[in-house]
Amino acid sequence: MSAATELAYLVSTALFIFSLKWMSDPKTARRGVFAGVVAMALAVGGTLLHHEIVTYRGIAIAFVLGTIVGVPLSWVPLTAVPQRTALSHAFGGLAAGLVGTAKYYLWLPTGELTTFRMAAIAVEIILGYLTCTGSLMAAGKLQEVLPTRPITYRNQNFINFGLFGIAVLIAFWLVVDPSRSFLFPILIALALAFGVLLILPIGGADMPTVISLLNSYAGLAAVAMGFVMENKLLITAGALDGSSGLILSIIMCRAMNRSFTNVLFGAFGQVQAGAAATEQRTAKSATPEDAAQILENANSVVIIPGYGMAVAQAQHRIRDLYEQLAKRGVDVKFAIHPVAGRMPGHMNVLLAEAEIPYDRLVEMDDINPDMPQVDVALVVGANDVVNPAARHDDKSPIFGMPIIDADKAKTVMAIKRSMNPGFAGIENELYFADNTLMLFGDAKAVVGDLVKQMAGGESVH
């Protein structure tokens, strides 16, 4: 590497770090994206400067094609962001795997495959190909192209671990003697297969955690590539990425009060149907007229959005509701649970899309102490994240998961289509509480009705 390239890499690394640092505040976040773009440009530019690069034409074509595919990929609706992310990880994993593969076959005849390089290549291709097929599976489940329920069979974990063990053994064998080249394609095949098998038993709703983990693997694959190519930029950027995926998945697991093992091997979401059948008690329901009146007369309203709001795309109606209430001097806040919805920060993006100012959004831990003073808690398509069983019923599967204390508000109103359970597949006693009124229907329609009532019957479209 020439000094100019190295220098470009140095600045690029610094900018990547600042890029993530600036994500600590919505005010600086766009600057963060800009820093990331400049960092990437420097990385690419510095690499192109490298004197051993003899042909640029192919690369230019690949750039153009990549851009042509990439731009439309960025237009997906916000609800499809998880799928898009998964698909991208598949591409990232593939790139790492391909580079590792090519390096192996380049170095094999020249005897340049030191133990260290071979080990790095082995890690790179295992992580790369595993991420590739795993992410494709995840994208498929999220897009519901593949069945979203967990697919299990006898001895599943045993078979998976066995396969993984064999892959590790083969990798080890290759490291000892890299010239056993017949093993290399087997290793690739195993990694590809393992990616599929790993995701099969995981339910569609657990995909966000899995995607974060795969993000981490994609980062680590880049790190391994950095070791292969002795490139510090690859190592640092990969490590940043790896940390991000790791931390996001830890946050999600914690907010669900579940362990990694449970997410990866627990086949969560299988028992859904069974648990929901025990419903017996009756819930009170209210008409939009009544509900609108209660809301108008409240001093303080906390809106608790959940996955149902995302499904119904109700955020714009909610903004109308927020404006109506604000006009009447009602204090409206939004309580955001860390795992409301299906990906970290899901609710925030949707509410931001509807131009609800982000200083109205309050985190769970900050709003809970105030809940007993709140007049109305309006639950919009949230379920598990407001289930009081998490607090007191130690037999509940979500026991110990931190929740938003909607039940402590003076009046609770819950918008959902039926008495069906949410993600965790369990009944929610909140709906049967004395101070709870149900508003049945699609979230967008119901909130639209509420707004219509308040606006005095005039159309709000």
Binding site: K21, G36, T47, L73, F91, M229, L248
Partner: protein, 97 residues
Amino acid sequence: MSTEFISLLFVFMLATFVGLDVIRRVSRLLHTPLMSLTNAISAIAVVGAILLAGEAETPFSTALGLLAVFASTTNIVSGFLITDRMLKMFKRREPGS
């Protein structure tokens, strides 16, 4: 164990310390954009891909390299664009007030 390896390990260790610290401070509001931003950053693999494709040592390696450049470029472009698209939506005050 070669000293070159340890030297790279050194960088990896420091970068991981930085990464864990930096990510832990990302605003909860922005976890979704963070996912797509890191997605774009992980496309740094493009560096390895360009070297491989550009050095053009064998047709096989060049082909794999170009495929990898294509795949990474897709991620770079879509990752940064969608992140910015999401971030643009975050507003602190009422629009027009």
